[in-house]
Subunit: 348 residues, 4 copies
Amino acid sequence: MAQKKDYLKEIIKHIDIKQHNVVPLVEAMESMAFSARDLNRAAKIYEKMLTDKDCTVILTLAGSLFSAGLKKVVHDLIANNMVDVIVSTGAIMVDQDFFEALGFKHYIGSPYVDDNELRELHIDRIYDTFIDEDELRICDDTTAKIFDSLEPRPYSSRELLWHFGKYLEDNGGPKVDDSVIYAAYKNNVPIFVPAFSDCSAGFGIVMHQHNNPENHVSFDSGKDFYELTQIKLKSKETGIFMIGGGVPKNFTQDIVVAADILREDAPMHKYAIQITVADVRDGALSSSTLKEASSWGKVETTYEQMVYSEATLAMPLIAGYAYHKGVWKNRERKELQKLFLKENVSVK
Amino acid sequence: MAQKKDYLKEIIKHIDIKQHNVVPLVEAMESMAFSARDLNRAAKIYEKMLTDKDCTVILTLAGSLFSAGLKKVVHDLIANNMVDVIVSTGAIMVDQDFFEALGFKHYIGSPYVDDNELRELHIDRIYDTFIDEDELRICDDTTAKIFDSLEPRPYSSRELLWHFGKYLEDNGGPKVDDSVIYAAYKNNVPIFVPAFSDCSAGFGIVMHQHNNPENHVSFDSGKDFYELTQIKLKSKETGIFMIGGGVPKNFTQDIVVAADILREDAPMHKYAIQITVADVRDGALSSSTLKEASSWGKVETTYEQMVYSEATLAMPLIAGYAYHKGVWKNRERKELQKLFLKENVSVK
Amino acid sequence: MAQKKDYLKEIIKHIDIKQHNVVPLVEAMESMAFSARDLNRAAKIYEKMLTDKDCTVILTLAGSLFSAGLKKVVHDLIANNMVDVIVSTGAIMVDQDFFEALGFKHYIGSPYVDDNELRELHIDRIYDTFIDEDELRICDDTTAKIFDSLEPRPYSSRELLWHFGKYLEDNGGPKVDDSVIYAAYKNNVPIFVPAFSDCSAGFGIVMHQHNNPENHVSFDSGKDFYELTQIKLKSKETGIFMIGGGVPKNFTQDIVVAADILREDAPMHKYAIQITVADVRDGALSSSTLKEASSWGKVETTYEQMVYSEATLAMPLIAGYAYHKGVWKNRERKELQKLFLKENVSVK
Amino acid sequence: MAQKKDYLKEIIKHIDIKQHNVVPLVEAMESMAFSARDLNRAAKIYEKMLTDKDCTVILTLAGSLFSAGLKKVVHDLIANNMVDVIVSTGAIMVDQDFFEALGFKHYIGSPYVDDNELRELHIDRIYDTFIDEDELRICDDTTAKIFDSLEPRPYSSRELLWHFGKYLEDNGGPKVDDSVIYAAYKNNVPIFVPAFSDCSAGFGIVMHQHNNPENHVSFDSGKDFYELTQIKLKSKETGIFMIGGGVPKNFTQDIVVAADILREDAPMHKYAIQITVADVRDGALSSSTLKEASSWGKVETTYEQMVYSEATLAMPLIAGYAYHKGVWKNRERKELQKLFLKENVSVK
């Protein structure tokens, strides 16, 4: 029988947009059709968001993006001041980013394997990628350890992910140089995970609450929504760069309505781009068009563009275009984490 | 210019599976190919779940299902003891089910409209369906009112949705006879919404926390995960019937791992079916195959089937098949809400 | 090692729309949303085509439909005068329909097999369906035999498929009672296969031309186009029921333009419905919307509807709805084959 | 009301792969996942085809590729000896390539327009691209003129497209420097269009046969199949690079079987890559996997790779990678047109 090491051999490596000047390629797409032209327009709208001094840029992430080699792209967006807020699924931030920050890796795999054999070997599969399940359990345990160390009370995911960054800082730093959680911690970029129990941190919180039945940390997802709405209220304009759909997309679009409830006449998101393969005809939110969002008063239709592509192809082109155009160089850091930072300091 | 009433004319009506004996049709699909044969096999696996006395049946819901006319299907599954637990998006349960229980409606619309005009008229669009935004704001406000009435502490979404059912009970009952939240309340079927702030209840909690900054209700999504895991631990076997993917799918698959963490050797989900149009090649969770889930130790591969179809076509056929086969008639009600019921009683 | 008979055990059976009165089910879909409502509208447009005395109904077929159990649906549409012309891929008509008329079968298979083993066993796979390759070779040979028997000259595919029907007639009739080619032959329904060399008949013509290098039968696809255009010119109105896209869809839409070239002011197709899963965003013809076709002057937009569904689910519902509504009962047979019949009689 | 010139303003420009060295970008995709890694593998297989001295490279084209800006990519593959045979839809070769060779253009458009207005203005739409229908009619007429000039007999599409090239040569050359038909004519690369009546040439042949009822040119698609099979028989190995599916894909895969019928033991296609967005679950040929093709004995499974992407994104990367790796520099021109050339000379 095969052994674990037979499967876990080749490491997923994250693409480095800084190494590839895709500006001429993306510019050539401007006069083509279909996805190429859409991608060109999305890239230019992203550049416009970064040029607009009044615009807070929110990046939403869904899909198994970091296990697929897109982690460094997001790291570089933070490091180069090209994103002000991140709203993500839990899997991307904890099972994939924090996991790699602890020194673990994702491995090149294949969808044509015997999943029962993988299960017996404690290997988890994401389409064509493998993960060592025993390492994932260590990640689960680490999140429980962090929750055990905190003052028992409800927390937003933003607060907790700040503590994840601090945990890395306090324990010798991340084991990799492209940790998104750590870069966000250092650069005061808030990260929200509205469905925070739906990931490795969920296993951690179950252990923590199981061992501390009376008095414990809890995930206050209403606070997530309230905090992200406060960011909207503090921002003159907002632009959203969405990879995939899901809760991060819906949640981020909804803050316009929440802002409107708290204070009349909050503006819609001025800019909105989305990379997705979801088909509009099933009526689900992940595929709902940005034009539809404008009926809800969430997104303006002047600068919106959907790009029909799997993210590993389109995201490096769009992010790389904006990076190499260099408009981030004169952009002021917003450091929106500072809006909340005092209350974060709550270790018991 | 058009008026609101020009758009909001024809009401979405929910399909009644009890009126359509689709058993011969679905049986004829057994000897065909592609989606028809897959649908037949999924329907038979669902029937098997209901026949297996040891099996707790968990229904997961994602996509704009109830606005599309599938609400009564779920209502009838509860009323006829064909489902023991529901895990859902917030939009389905609050914006769509609770909304209709308050007396509001969804309307037949069109994707070929001017979304800017809709916005000015306070009409929200979901692909080919219209909603009165002013009515949705009343729904938001009602959730805030419920939160205001509760003792301030962290709650699971299950607890809060039980209170939503109780609110309907205490206020003259639902305005419709097919409310899912109310049927679940009466039949002790727990409903979980792991991303509870990502819906109308999110607007409610923002208002509530804004008005009660120090001491307030919060959504404890870790508790959701812990409670659903307890249901898994209390069940000899489990089967999942998934409509769409998203957080409800992932969350429900993950409880096998959580159960395994709390107690060695928790069994995988024995039965699993999913209706989805998501394409497997983007690597996202919504489209991940049930075979892939088995590498994670979440789903057994003997009785699993994915059906590639938009839900409005496939769900009435699968649910209708199982209903008209009548196997639910001798099934004992599990009333899993009773596991938690004492602690629900916490009105201030 | 496995044997051929281990794989070829369970036969694909064709669904019989006459046995399933889906009218109430399809009517219930009228007040739902998404694909269900689209399907309802498509079914009603098909009914409208059949009610309109002036309308010639053209059915276009693409995808592996008959191997999937949809052959009898088309047979019953012909037998009950619900279709006047068929435009199809070659695989459906020759590899699947003529093949079964010769007494061969399609078998229930699985996509989860070792294709190299299948190849060694002479088993061909279509997704989840198996075919005996040795039987397919007999089908190829039979088409060559038919071509050998004909006077050498260019033929339209319609002429040749009429000869296929005649071959069945002259050789004891088809071995099954639901042969589409034979029913079309008996009911004077012309069948066109514009890419006729792209199927089992292609292998037959290669053998025929190889053995008769100087003087041989040839496929005159220009004649196909000319003949179908003549049908358009002879028809007051036309309606098209499209299953899938491909050449049959494009070819049939194009005859409006061809008719316009031969005679000014030929009307567009008045009715058009299509069942497809193709995504509009790749710009290909299979997915191009019927609204887009109207820019080309091919399709009127008043009565057009696309249904996003795999065909095995949607086609029995749409065809079954129209069948059980019974509007075909008073419909006059058009017998359009008679426009061309004299010249068909050309056996050497 | 708008005028034609208001819509036909900005010209589609074809991307020039020679200007973009994508080798480092495509190499970085090797260690990622999902479509990026698939694209990398496909690019390397294409490079392998070009390095293999025994391999005849066949390019298949489906979808509105040249109207979308991919024409020059194919031109450059011919000019730089990176493709030996082309199998295409008629729309790509005639409505798009020959059309532009006559001096006409495609224009940047939008799917969000009034198609009825476009129709009145004689503007045809392909998703987000516009064409002047009056210019397209000139293209139709030109094909009729070419058919009128030829000796009346059945022709393969390869012969006719050679005459299209000759027509350009005899009439002052193409009006653009990136005509695929002309480059193929000059470099002796045969082009096959198996469904040749399903395009602008179909309108031409209808006019031609209408005006010459007794004695005329016809499209002999069986001869297409026979000729392509002869190329297979003359080639030691074959590799196929497929853009989209449709008839070109199926036709080209089928020649292995045809070769096997004419001569025992013809080898399968040794290399096969496909760019497509078609979903495998509808069982159609366009989406059928290359593994499935191997059950039919058509494609070897060692070097096959499907890439899930819309073609405007993926084709420039794959073709550009192979171009900039430079392996074509030492490749001998096969000039397979010469196999047939004598018989082409048949002008009346």
